[in-house]
Symmetry: C2
Subunit: 320 residues, 2 copies
């Protein structure tokens, strides 16, 4: 198994190093979650396999290379953050309630709700307890706990906004909490734990935040544009559950329409100018992409900077 | 609202102080969990009201009185531990899946599964993030995270043992993780954060552990003996779901029977000598009670010692 990125523009020896360390992150997650409860292991392996991009661990490792890189320390931190992310994915599956989540069977329908709740909680707790207080800044552990809070608050805002006309501001809040916050934490903590100064750590954190926003908006756009038959399936599914992403939000805003003007998902998709919504979404994605790249360009010259730029390009230069 | 204990044998001024501080714990929990998502607040208020015994916060405060007592610090720690406990109760409701949980509507049936998952996660994260790294020992925050792990592992063991003949050893493992571990942590951390030495903090932790085991076994006995009509309702409900507590486990062991020998809950209740099972359970409860009191008696003489003894009596000297 190789990691996601085969990026030509990246320094080959760093690429190899990252590749091997991401593999170690994976095996460390399996090691930390070794229990005699076979179900737990099955769920964790499934989530690791299906969600193989490992972007957050990669950001931790990359950020570490801006400072005094300590491999064991960074790999363990990367594992912790990925475990936290996995926990939220597993719990999301419970609330999502659909048997199929983006073309794969959900954890809850495969293993049962009980196992999904406990395994998620176990991962959450474990992600914090493996950050030994002697090795890691206690304030960083606190920051991770706050990250979980932000994710929960974003999920709550999203849940309570169902079937309502959403403002762009609230959409941004949700995306910030659900995606960007953890990207930001990954880069910030990776840098700070490697003795980067506050200014550099904060800059990297901001870059993570902007990359996260752009990444999520692009994902939302691709949901609509990638595969036309998709619009008839998972998108409609989301709409039926009352979840609207940026293209729909901006199309409604442009036409001064409200969700309440439509009686169902089909009517909504027919009644709005979705192409316009996608076009506007692209503009916003590009704005955040530009911000992130501008900030990256100001980082001190280094192999790490080039690598971060390469990863960002790989993440964001998709055909959307 | 007054706290649970009106205990004659307790020093009246300490009783008043604890009473007022437990109220502060309650309002602090509400303060820490203030969000604009009204549903979260409703759930938290419900769980606070229905689960008003506040034993874990009380243990934190009591343990603090064995050292250099700092009210704000102890109250905040007590709130953190109670929030952690509340999170596990809310998530338990999801997996329990029954509309009525011990005669009250479950969180999930009242507010929906989504809200229950997110609110539990939010509480878990918050319980750790309010322990500011500057004020509390980082290793204690780690200990709390490990506590959550232990609770999850116990829940998993319990879940995977459904419909199986359980050994006393596994029953003890479950009770240790689900109840005793957090009682132990409450007393240990309360003491240690108040500058008690390691020996005293560990002794108090052990007392918490033994009280927790005794308390849970007594609860299990009372489920059977308190109200005969109960045996026909919530007990049968538990049995139908495959959950067996100590009286059943010991009755089966005594008669060298297996769960597999019975086809349903009714047959099981008729086929085993439940009185014998209850009698044996009492013996074990008394064993742990005695252990705890013996250990308490060896603590240094103080108002706190007398208060802990009084609370322990109140908890354990029930008519079972």
């Amino acid at each position: 198994m190789s990691i996601i990125l085969k990026i030509n523009t990246m320094d080959p020896s760093l690429q190899n190093e990252l590749d091997s360390e991401i593999k170690t992150v994976r095996s460390m997650i399996l090691k930390h979650t070794r229990t005699k409860y076979h179900g737990v292991r099955d769920i964790i392996e499934d989530v690791l396999d299906l969600n193989g991009k490992m972007l957050r661990p990669l950001f931790v490792l990359l950020a570490g290379h801006f400072g005094e890189y300590k491999s064991n320390k960074m790999v363990n931190l990367a594992a912790s953050i990925e475990m936290l992310h996995m926990a939220t994915l597993i719990h999301d599956d419970i609330v999502d309630d659909s048997k199929l989540r983006r073309h794969r069977e959900s954890v809850q329908s495969k293993y049962g709700k009980d196992m999904a709740v406990y395994t998620g909680d176990f991962l959450l707790a474990k992600s914090l307890s493996i950050l030994n207080a002697k090795e890691y800044e206690a304030s960083h552990i606190e920051r991770l706990a706050k990250g979980i809070e932000r994710i929960c608050e974003a999920e709550l805002l999203q849940y309570q906004s169902r079937f309502k006309t959403m403002t762009f501001k609230n959409y941004l809040r949700i995306v910030s909490g659900k995606t960007a916050a953890l990207f930001a934490i990954s880069l910030y903590v990776g840098a700070s734990e490697s003795k980067c100064d506050d200014k550099l750590s904060n800059q990297l954190g901001r870059i993570g935040y902007e990359l996260g926003i752009a990444f999520q908006i692009i994902d939302d756009i691709l949901d609509f544009s990638e595969d036309p038959s998709n619009v008839g399936k998972s998108i409609k599914n989301d709409l039926k559950k009352g979840y609207f992403t940026l293209p729909v939000i901006l199309a409604l805003e442009e036409q001064k329409l409200n969700i309440e003007d439509f009686s169902d998902a089909e009517e909504l998709l027919e009644g709005i100018d979705l192409d316009k919504g996608i076009e506007y979404s692209r503009i916003i994605a590009k704005k955040y992409t530009k911000k992130a790249f501008k900030r990256i360009s100001k980082l001190p010259e280094s192999v790490a900077k080039n690598a971060l730029e390469a990863v960002a390009k790989h993440m964001l230069n998709r055909n959307y």
